[in-house]
Amino acid sequence: MFRIVEARFLAPEVKLFRIEAPRIARKRLPGQFVILRVHDHGERIPLTLADSDPAAGTITLVVQGVGRSTRLLNALEAGDTIPDVVGPLGKPSVIEKVKTVVVIGGGLGTAIAYPTAKAFHEAGSHVISIIGGRSRAYVILEDEVRAVSDRVIVTTDDGSAGAKGFVTERLAEVIQSDPRPDLVLAIGPIPMMRAVAEVTRPVGIATVVSLNPIMVDGTGMCGGCRVIVDGKPRFACVDGPEFDAHQVDFQILTQRNAMYRAQEKTALESPPPAAASTAEVPAGSPGEPHDCRMVRAIPELDGVWRTCPTPPTAPVSGS
């Protein structure tokens, strides 16, 4: 059990958690993530580590309530516990001193980009941060980002804070100005990261994105998180999550992330899991009248099951 020591909303649907997890706090480096389960019937969801405090033994997560699990998580408060948190997973960001780095955070991505911006700042780089959101309320962690950046540009889609427009427009300006950035790091929604890659590709500026494919175990065991980079499959949980933006196949990532769209909708509409905890009873039970799909599907196939349903055969009796 992992105890939540602090929980507060940063923006609508966006909540910050500080959670006791001393082992993870001690090891965590920028760019890494954890996988957690909110309850006993929960799925394993990957969340990037926004920060950690080894002395206090806590990790910081910033969560956007989009699906059922993240909404359940966002309903938790300080003092509540989370059954499973495992990490830190994935490769840390490669932080080496470059002269100028642009760190772009779109929406929730700001929380993920912040630790990397901080690390570059500490490594002595000139850090330009571009943070964006739908409107003023969705621009998060502005003060924190300011503290580790040499320059901060805020953008909103509606112009309610900073400049009106998309982060890519501001990026295009930054690229034109002096000093020309050596590295761009972009974290946010897939369309944003893809757009950033297209801005930097023609001018040949190295660009890194942090990908968020669907995951299960997070240890390289299932391959569900595979993304196509440079034409080859890579497992985001162990080979990533950061990859060269110019090599990533964003279309495949978008398609794979939509794989369970229908189920996600059902999940949001179905009652919370507590009400459905009869699931311990195995689905279906023998003997119930049923519509045998096998007969429909392969009528030509001859098998023992053709004679079904029969009462279970009694063991051979002798003596």
Binding site: G303, P315, S319
Partner: protein, 504 residues
Amino acid sequence: MAHVPHASDCPRLRFLIRTAIPTTTFTPMSHPLSPKDRMKIPRQPMPEEPPCERAHHFLEVNRGLDAAVAQREALRCLECKSPRCVSSCPVGVKVREFVGLVVAGDYLGAAAKIREDNVLPAVTGRVCPQETQCEGACILGNKGESLAIGYLERFVADYEIRTGQTGLPARAPLTGKRVAIVGSGPAGLSCAGDLAQHGHEVTVLEALHEIGGVLVYGIPEFRLPKDIVRGEVANLERLGVSFRTNVVVGPSVTLDELMKEEGYDAVFVATGAGLPIFLNLPGEHLCGVYSANEFLTRINLMKAHEFPAYDSPVYDCRDRDVMVFGGGNTAMDAVRMARRLGARTARIVYRRSAEEMPARAEEAKHAHEEGIEFLYLTAPLEFVGDAQGRLTSVKLQRMELGAPDASGRRSPVPIPGSEHELPLQVAIIAIGNRGNPLVPGSTPDLRTTRHGYIIADPESLKTSKRGVFAGGDIVTGGATVILAMGAGRKAARAIHEFLVSGSW
């Protein structure tokens, strides 16, 4: 001390294990039959859920023998002087002795006898490939059918669980030595059991949120009910083994930290072969293409078939065409699972022919009965999808068997002009795994093979790093539950020696 749950507390388990407990006393066979009469008794069949019904539920297929049948089966044993079944068991279970105890009606004694060599009898009685091990060596098999050793093992193990009288071995006085075991699959569990018996303090570290490795995330409920695994884990807890989930050794804590900072005197690495191999074909990224590991994990561990009562989804197989590529146990499990999820067609696609198929004979038989179709001598060429990136069909090619390859198996050769396309919405790839790199990747002085397996001495299971032993699939590559358990035992012996002598 907190109440340690015991398997027999669980009403569901009682329901699952339908082995009839004798309510009346039966007459133990005090006058065993003559060899000739014993050979007249036919091998007792395993009662099974009818195929047509079980294709729609997740209950265990094999129901288990009842006591009377088990006794009759046990009577078939010829009690060989030097039993070949014992020497061909990777952990040397004393088959003749335990079968004798079954004949005598002492089921708990029989179970205790097995436990001397095998800490997971209820598991191995269900999933061991007996036909190539104990039963394959049984002398009865020369003329007729071998003794059903697996059924008997399962019978006594279930009897023990049912009656809640698991005869745990005694624990030696505490030695004060601490051992960390990385990975909670069969290798880790058996090593933990043996070391705890020697009086060492054992902690098992597991990356996932449940204990059991492949036994919980890979092998399906219909073959190995998860409550059985939980019961065995509870037994180990009662023996004094502690379990910690959610610890990924490597990223969470390194081997060096375990030994230097956390005070462990030795470590056993049993992380399994957990890196799925893909076919490397065009279209493998399409939605609907899974590794068998992912497909089975979503269902066995995450219970996706009970979505939305559980949060994890799985691709809807209902009224869809499903193909599983591969011919091992994993492939059989995946295809039978797809059948249970309501697949319209559920097919195995295997490059070679039925004879070369590595799956256990019983699995292939059950699959056939459940209406699984087998496309032998067929290999995929390409997965084809629609504009949304969803799998819609597969291009296949026929093969024929050519000259034997390095492994001695005849290697499949494509037949030119045999390319064809079939509709397909779910593809599951079950062609094997490689070693998981997390531990070696964080331990530079741990030597590995080209394929990422840890190099360990075959006898002592010592690795290149002092104090670190390794065994199971992470050393051998994908093998079997019992071989992994055998490795766990060997390691426990070597670790005990190392802890006592202090010399490497």
